[in-house]
C-alpha cells in the first residue's frame, strides 16, 4: 500500500512571466492506493497531477507531509531500501516515443533490465529471452514481430505496449500511468486501457491513473477511487461512479460537463456548468481557490478556504462551502443503441 498524508510541494518561481513567484503544486494532499486498488486523478493541465505521480515514483521531492510505502516513510529509508521500494512503482509516460531509446531494438530494451533481474535472482540467459517474449505477449504484442524492431517501426499503440512490458520486467507492485493514452488514437486507447485493467485483475497490480479522460478512468478502475485536483488541492474524492454521477463540487461539475456528448447516442446532463474564466494561477486568493471561476460562488467563498469534508455517501469527500449534487454527465439515450 502506498499512502501520502498532508503532502505539499511548492516549486520556486523561475522569473520571466512568473516573476520569482512560488508555485504551489500540491497542497496537503492525502491519498491512499491500496494493493491491487486503483486511484484515478483528474484535473486541468497544471493542477499538480503529474507532480503527484512523480513524487509517488520517487522522482520528485516533497516539502512536507509524508509518503508511506507499506507503512515505511520514504524520507527515512536508506538509499538501498529506497531503490528497492521505488523500483516496484513504475511510471508510464504520456509519450511512448520519447520513453524508448530510439537506437535500441525492443529486444535490447527489454533485455537490459531483465539481465539485471536474472543476475540478481540467479536465473539463466535463456530465462531473460523467455521472459521478454512472455511479457510482450502479456501486453498483446507478437514477440517475433516486435523484438527485432526499433521504436520508430512500431505504431504509437504498440510503443506504449512496449513501455508497459518494460515496466513489468521488474515485477512492479504499482504502476503510475501519467496520461498514458493521451497521445494514442481513440480507437486504440481501449486496447491499452484493457491491458491496465487486466494487469490489475491478473497480477494484482495497483494503479494510479492520471488522466483528463474520465471515461478512461472509469474503464480501468470502475471499483476504484477518483480524486479531483485543482491547483494542487484535492477538492473532491470518492468512488468513481459516485463522483461521476453525483458530483457535488462545482469544479468537478465543470470538468465533467466539458466531456463531449455523443449527440444521437447521448443527451447532455441537465445541470452542466461552465467555468466563468480560464485558469489564472498568478493570484493566490485567501478563500476558495476556485472562487474567481466558480459559477456558484457566493460572498463567503472569498473569505475562507473550505476543508475536505464528508459529503454524505460513504467515502465521498468534498471541499466546498456550498456543495450541491448536480447531474452533468451525458445520459445515454434509451432508444438508441451503438450497435447495428
Amino acid at each position: 500500500m502506498i499512502e501520502v498524508r498532508g503532502l505539499s510541494k511548492t516549486f520556486a518561481g523561475r522569473g520571466g512571466l512568473l516573476g520569482h513567484r512560488a508555485v504551489p503544486a500540491l497542497r496537503e494532499v492525502d491519498l491512499r492506493l491500496a494493493s491491487g486498488g486503483a486511484v484515478s486523478v483528474i484535473g486541468e493541465s497544471g493542477c499538480g497531477k503529474t507532480t503527484l505521480g512523480r513524487i509517488l515514483c520517487g522522482l520528485e521531492s516533497y516539502d512536507s507531509g509524508s509518503l508511506l510505502i507499506e507503512g515505511r516513510e520514504a524520507k527515512q529509508m536508506s538509499l538501498a531500501e529506497r531503490r528497492e521500494r521505488f523500483q516496484r512503482i513504475q511510471l508510464i509516460h504520456q509519450d511512448p516515443y520519447s520513453a524508448l531509446n530510439p537506437t535500441r531494438t525492443v529486444r535490447q530494451t527489454m533485455l537490459a533490465s531483465l539481465r539485471l533481474r536474472a543476475s540478481a535472482t540467479n536465473r539463466s540467459k535463456a530465462w531473460t529471452e523467455r521472459r521478454a517474449a512472455e511479457l510482450l505477449e502479456l501486453v498483446g504484442l507478437d514477440p517475433s514481430y516486435c523484438l527485432p524492431r526499433y521504436p520508430h517501426m512500431l505504431s504509437g499503440g504498440m510503443r506504449q505496449r512496449v513501455v508497459i512490458a518494460r515496466a513489468l520486467t521488474v515485477d512492479p507492485e504499482a504502476l503510475v500511468a501519467d496520461e498514458a493514452v493521451a497521445m494514442i488514437d481513440v480507437s486504440l486507447r481501449l486496447g491499452i486501457l484493457g491491458i491496465l485493467r487486466r494487469l490489475r485483475a491478473d497480477l494484482g497490480l495497483s494503479l494510479l491513473f492520471i488522466t483528463h479522460d474520465v471515461a478512461a478512468a472509469r474503464y480501468v478502475g470502475e471499483d476504484g477511487q477518483l480524486y479531483v485536483l485543482y491547483r494542487g488541492q484535492v477538492v473532491e474524492q470518492g468512488p468513481v461512479d459516485e463522483i461521476v454521477q453525483r458530483p457535488t463540487h462545482p469544479y468537478t461539475q465543470c470538468l465533467l460537463s466539458a466531456i463531449p456528448v455523443m449527440r444521437g447516442l447521448e443527451r447532455p446532463g441537465p445541470d452542466r456548468l461552465v467555468p466563468l474564466r480560464p485558469l489564472d494561477d498568478n493570484v493566490e486568493p485567501p478563500g476558495c481557490l476556485l472562487a474567481d471561476r466558480c459559477p456558484q460562488a457566493q460572498d463567503d467563498c472569498l473569505l475562507g478556504r473550505p476543508p475536505l469534508l464528508p459529503a454524505g455517501a460513504a467515502g465521498h469527500l468534498h471541499a466546498c462551502l456550498h456543495p450541491e449534487a448536480r447531474s452533468v454527465v451525458a445520459i445515454p439515450e434509451q432508444t438508441a443503441s451503438s450497435g447495428r
Binding site: L17, E44, S45, S155, G156, D185, V186, S187, L188, R189, L190, G191, L193, G194, H212, D213, V214, A215, A216, R218, Y219, E222, V244, Q245, C254, L255, L256, S257, A258, I259, P260, V261, M262, R263, G264, L265, E266, V274, P275, R277, P278, L279, V329, A330, I331, P332, A336, S338, G339, R340
Partner: protein
C-alpha cells in the same frame, strides 16, 4: 480583405446542387506518395462537400490520410506526395489544385484558413504574435497591414482572450488553449470562408477543449463558414459537427448527418469505432477494442474493401470488388458490400460527399 462575390441565396437545397453551392468541393481526389515501393495512394477517389454554414467532422485513425487530405485542400501536399487526380473547387475561386505561385499563396491563409495540429509548432517562437500577424498581412498583399491588427484584436476578444496581452506575447507565454485560439485568429483574420482545423484539441485538457470547441462553433455560426474538423476522436465530432465523414485508409467509408451516423452507423468500421470508446455513463464493459492494426500506406489493398482485414463481417466479395457507395438514408451513404443489400439503392459516387 479577401473578396468574393456577395451571396444572397441561402442554401436550403442539398449538397448536390452545383449552381448554388457555396464552399469547398472535393471531387475524385487521389493523392499518392512516391516511395521506394512505388507510388502508394494515401487518399483515393475522395468526394467531399464542405458547405458554408455546415461543420463537417472528418474522422480517421493515424495513417488514414486525413491530414494529407486536409493539406490537399490547400494544394499543399508535401513532397513526395502529389495530387494525381481530382479537383478541389472553391466557389468564387475555382480549382485550387491548378493554382500556382502567388495566386496559390493568396488563397492559403486568405479564403482558406488552416489551423495546425500543434499550434505551438506553427507559431514562430522568436516573434511576438502581433508581428507574425503583420507578416501574414504583408505576404497576402494587404494594402494597410496594420489594419489587420484591429481585426485580430476584435477576434481575440471575441474568443475570450486579452487581445493586448496576446498580441504582444511570444508563443511560449501562452497556454495550449490560448495558442490554439491564436491559431484560429490567424486562420480567420483575412476573412476566411473555409476553416480547416487539424486535430484542434488533441493536446488540450478537457476544459480547454470544451472552450475551444465552443469558440469554433460560435465563430462558425457568426461568419457562416464552411468548417471542417479533422480528428481521430469521434466524440469531438459527435459533439460539434453537423455532418460526419468517416475515413479509413484514404477512402471515405461513411458519411451522413451526425445523429444518423451515430444512431444508425452503416459501415462495420464506424460501428467498431463507436464501440471502442469508453463512455462516461452506462455499462462501461460494453466498450470493445477495435481488433487488428490501423493500416499503413504499404499494406492498403488496392482492390476490394480497405477495411476487410479487420472486418468481422467480411465476405469473399470484399477482397475482390471495390464496394460501391450506396445510400442508406437521406444524405447518409456508405461504401460497404453488406449495406448494398436488397433495401439499399445504388447511387452515383457523388452522394457520398460530405
Amino acid at each position: 480583405m479577401r473578396r468574393r462575390p456577395s451571396r444572397a441565396a441561402h442554401l436550403g437545397s442539398g449538397a448536390g446542387d452545383t449552381e448554388e453551392f457555396e464552399g469547398l468541393r472535393v471531387r475524385g481526389l487521389t493523392i499518392v506518395y512516391g516511395t521506394e515501393a512505388g507510388e502508394l495512394a494515401a487518399v483515393r477517389q475522395v468526394d467531399l462537400d464542405l458547405q458554408a454554414g455546415t461543420i463537417t467532422g472528418l474522422v480517421g485513425e493515424s495513417g488514414s490520410g486525413k491530414s494529407t487530405l486536409a493539406l490537399a485542400m490547400l494544394n499543399a501536399v508535401p513532397s513526395p506526395g502529389r495530387i494525381t487526380a481530382g479537383s478541389v473547387t472553391m466557389s468564387g475561386i475555382g480549382d485550387i489544385t491548378r493554382l500556382r505561385g502567388r495566386a496559390l499563396r493568396e488563397v492559403r491563409g486568405g479564403v482558406l484558413g488552416y489551423v495546425f495540429q500543434a499550434s505551438q509548432n506553427s507559431l514562430n517562437p522568436l516573434k511576438r504574435v502581433g508581428a507574425q500577424l503583420l507578416d501574414l498581412a504583408r505576404s497576402h498583399g494587404v494594402p494597410q497591414p496594420r489594419l489587420i491588427l484591429g481585426e485580430a484584436q476584435r477576434l481575440c476578444e471575441r474568443m475570450g482572450l486579452d487581445a493586448t496581452r496576446v498580441l504582444s506575447s511570444y508563443q511560449h507565454e501562452l497556454s495550449g488553449g490560448m495558442r490554439q485560439r491564436v491559431g484560429i485568429v490567424f486562420a480567420l483574420v483575412l476573412n476566411a470562408k473555409v476553416l480547416i482545423l487539424d486535430e484542434p484539441t488533441t493536446a488540450l485538457d478537457m476544459l480547454s477543449q470544451a472552450a475551444v470547441l465552443q469558440v469554433v462553433r460560435e465563430i462558425h455560426a457568426e461568419r457562416r463558414l464552411a468548417t471542417v474538423v479533422i480528428t481521430h476522436d469521434i466524440a469531438v465530432v459527435a459533439e460539434m459537427a453537423d455532418r460526419v465523414v468517416v475515413t479509413y485508409a484514404g477512402r471515405i467509408v461513411e458519411s451522413g448527418a451526425t445523429g444518423d451516423v451515430l444512431r444508425h452507423a452503416a459501415h462495420p468500421y464506424t460501428r467498431a469505432l463507436l464501440r471502442s470508446i469508453p463512455r462516461i455513463s452506462g455499462d462501461i464493459s460494453a466498450a470493445e477494442p477495435l481488433p487488428g492494426r490501423p493500416p499503413d500506406l504499404a499494406s492498403i489493398p488496392t482492390v476490394g474493401c480497405v477495411f476487410r482485414a479487420r472486418c468481422p463481417l467480411a465476405l469473399p466479395i470484399c477482397s475482390e470488388v471495390d464496394p460501391a457507395t450506396v445510400s442508406v438514408g437521406p444524405g447518409h451513404a456508405t461504401a460497404c458490400h453488406l449495406a448494398a443489400g436488397p433495401l439499399a439503392v445504388p447511387e452515383r459516387t457523388e452522394e457520398v460527399a460530405g
